[in-house]
């Protein structure tokens, strides 16, 4: 018996001029209860939108249902009293920073329990149980702002467990989660489904690791026009043949002493609050090379890039071209070093795609190079049709592509990328990597890239630096 039924649903985000372009166009499907369903599709196809409609957040917080409906056990979602909804369906968001209202882990769980009118005497035990279930009891009194992406997603799951929700929706929950945390979360979700009969629906464009957990595989096509449930064989086939990487055979050079170092660290230490993230006697980043930086969630990769771009304090010494980073004036430094932020919204300075591109072209250090190539680049990244769109209304994947392109166009000698491939499907990722490689070679740039997503990266990178247990080390392998 299906719990969640999508019935000829059409959904739109109306534009200012009153048009209603359809994000989802007449789609139908049934997500069976007590099953583990996976929803996949290209970035921008409308997976997040569909998830938010099922959870009842849309159209309350945006967009409009043009036709059709979604029912939970036969009841249309908007007709279910809001006070009951939390027990029936809860959602975990793509961006780990967007799901909490309180300051500490414990208070957030209590807040959710208070909303459900749980008796105060019961609360503490439910908090403890939920935190224990996802193995994060030590985080109980921690401030949510101080947690890493993976830790935040574990807290988000703990809240849903404490709420004892029947159906758990997860919208690209692992985008900024390292493989270990991802494995743990997947195992816990599977356990919830098998042992407690929960219904799990995950949207993800990356199918790796799902094979053993998934009962149903749904595919939403790129235009949001077809939502199809694959039959068992096709699904299994697709899951098994999706492989992100064959990492074992990949081999990287180690940097030689002859290389020119651009950044040099001595006794470099980085802190997040009271926690020491990195303690490194010697560190070098090398000019005109592309370096990949990997390491577990919360290990301090982003903080390192922030320190290198003067956005985070550091201890010891960190020099850029033999000058101490802390002493370089921001404006000077940022002509030499630029950051591609993890959150694309932070990069944008203007309103429309066209204005964003124009600004980068105007101030580019390789103006002529990009002027002649711009239209071809836009077409290859499928951004050419979006020129008059407001940047903040683009899909996650489109934002990422625009953001990377406009920063490459600046042709700043050193570009730091913090998880540039989040939310990109395989095809988009390959397109953008090709552009990165081309520009880096032609304009002689130095790129340093943090990424969890490793597929195809060996084409792009020269050196691989790993961060674990507060130490950084160049390695030869990828995995």
């Amino acid at each position: 018996m299906p719990t969640i039924k999508v019935d000829h649903l059409s959904f739109s985000y109306p534009t200012e001029s009153g048009e209603t372009p359809l994000t989802l166009n007449d789609i139908s499907a049934s997500f069976p209860s007590h099953h583990f369903s996976l929803l996949t599709g290209a970035s921008g196809s409308g997976k997040s939108t569909l998830m938010k409609i099922i959870s009842g957040l849309y159209p309350q917080f945006g967009g409009r249902v043009i036709a059709g409906q979604i029912t939970l056990d036969g009841n249309p979602v908007p007709d279910i009293p809001e006070t009951n909804r939390g027990r029936l369906v809860a959602m975990m968001f793509q961006n780990p920073n967007q799901q909490f209202a309180m300051d500490t882990v414990e208070r957030e769980v209590i807040f959710a329990l208070e909303n459900q009118h749980v008796a105060p005497s019961e609360m503490m035990s439910r908090v403890t149980q939920a935190l224990r279930y996802v193995e994060i009891e030590p985080l109980r009194h921690r401030n949510l702002n101080s947690l890493s992406g993976g830790e935040k997603q574990k807290v988000a799951l703990a809240v849903i467990i404490a709420m004892q929700t029947d159906t758990i929706l997860l919208d690209e929950p692992f985008a900024s989660v390292d493989p270990e945390a991802r494995q743990l979360l997947l195992a816990k979700l599977s356990q919830l489904q098998r042992k407690q009969g929960k219904t799990i629906i995950i949207s993800d464009h990356d199918l790796e690791d799902y094979g053993q957990f998934v009962d149903e595989l749904f595919v939403l096509d790129a235009t949001g026009e077809h939502l199809e449930q694959l039959n068992h064989e096709t699904a299994q086939n697709r899951l098994q043949h999706f492989s992100r990487e064959q990492n074992n055979t990949i081999h990287f050079e180690l940097p030689t002493t002859a290389e020119k170092t651009l950044y040099t660290g001595r006794d470099l230490s980085l802190q997040a609050g009271e926690r020491t993230l990195i303690n490194q006697p010697e560190l070098g980043f090398f000019q005109h090379h592309i370096t990949l930086l990997t390491g577990p969630n919360g290990s301090g990769k982003s903080t390192l890039l922030s320190a290198m771009s003067k956005l985070h304090d550091y201890g010891g010494s960190l020099t850029f071209n033999h000058k101490e980073v802390a002493k370089i004036r921001p404006r000077q430094l940022y002509r030499q070093v630029a950051m591609v932020f993890q959150d694309a919204d932070q990069q944008f300075l203007n309103v429309t795609v066209e204005e964003e591109i124009a600004l980068s072209l105007k101030n580019s250090q390789q103006h002529e190079y990009f002027k002649s190539r711009l239209s071809r680049l836009l077409t290859s990244l499928h951004l050419d049709q979006l020129q008059d769109h407001v940047v903040y209304t683009l899909s996650g994947g489109q934002k990422k592509k625009l953001q990377i392109l406009e920063m490459l166009m600046m042709a700043t000698p050193v570009l730091l990328f913090d998880e540039p491939f989040t939310g990109l499907d395989l095809a988009s990722m390959q397109q953008i990597m090709a552009v990165m490689k081309q520009v880096a070679t032609d304009c002689q740039l130095t790129l340093i890239i943090i990424s969890h997503q490793l597929f195809g990266l060996n084409q792009l990178i020269d050196y691989h630096l790993t961060l674990a247990n507060k130490k950084l080390e160049y390695v030869e392998g990828l995995a």
Partner: protein, 218 residues
């Protein structure tokens, strides 16, 4: 003391001294405020700031009265002490109350709609984020060859945009964690108003009236 009543008392005292002209009462209130602040063991740097910052408007105001108006020295002293009374009484209230207790009390005792109470708490939790966001916006500008000065509208446009975005995320986050406007909630921590809270409120106000009235008679 109950946080809501404490806040109410602070506001009432501030209102009252706005309409009276007794520098001795102002001074007395400032001293009491100072003592309460000291009992909360503030950091030295914060305490010094509290002493120094009000000096600027206080001196400016007093000088302006002395030089530009014929209201006289007495009024200048009244204004000078009044500023310190405001700041110290205000700080005495905020520094002895945790923000989450205040919000819970406003929700449970003062019956402020829970939407406002939690919106306020969420906004408060965002404050440090706003500071770092402004830094990031300025860096993002520099990285694109655009200097964003403190007075440039783009900086504020981005900051407001980020805040709007956060507020929407906050609303979605609260909703997805089961928050429904005006629906009954249970409270893990009950905040009560006890008889001595009322007694303190009324007692302090009565003493204040006597002080003002008594000084007026002299």
């Amino acid at each position: 003391m109950n946080p809501s009543l404490k806040l109410l008392l602070g506001v009432l005292i501030a209102l009252e001294i706005s309409f009276t002209r007794s520098w001795m009462v102002n001074l007395g209130l400032a001293v009491i405020g100072l003592v309460i602040i000291l009992t909360s063991r503030p950091k030295l740097s914060r305490f010094l700031l509290l002493l120094v910052i009000p000096l600027i408007p206080a001196v400016a105001l007093a000088m302006a009265i002395l030089l530009q108006s014929n209201a006289g020295t007495h009024f200048a002293i009244v204004l000078f002490t009044r500023i310190y009374a405001y700041v110290f009484i205000g700080s005495a209230v905020t520094m002895t109350t945790s923000i989450s207790d205040l919000v819970m009390s406003l929700e449970q005792n003062a019956h402020v709609p829970s939407k406002f109470a939690y919106g306020f708490l969420g906004a408060f939790n965002l404050l440090p984020k706003i500071v770092s966001e402004v830094n990031i916006i300025r860096a993002a500008g520099n990285m694109r060859g655009q200097t964003l000065h403190v007075w440039s509208p783009k900086l504020y446009f981005k900051a407001v945009l980020a805040s709007l975005n956060w507020s929407e995320n906050l609303a979605e986050a609260m909703t997805s964690h089961g928050f429904v406007e005006d629906a009954p909630r249970s409270y893990f921590k009950r905040i009560h108003i006890r008889w001595w809270d009322w007694a303190t409120l009324i007692g302090v106000l009565v003493i204040l009236q006597f002080a003002l009235f008594g000084l007026h008679l002299q």
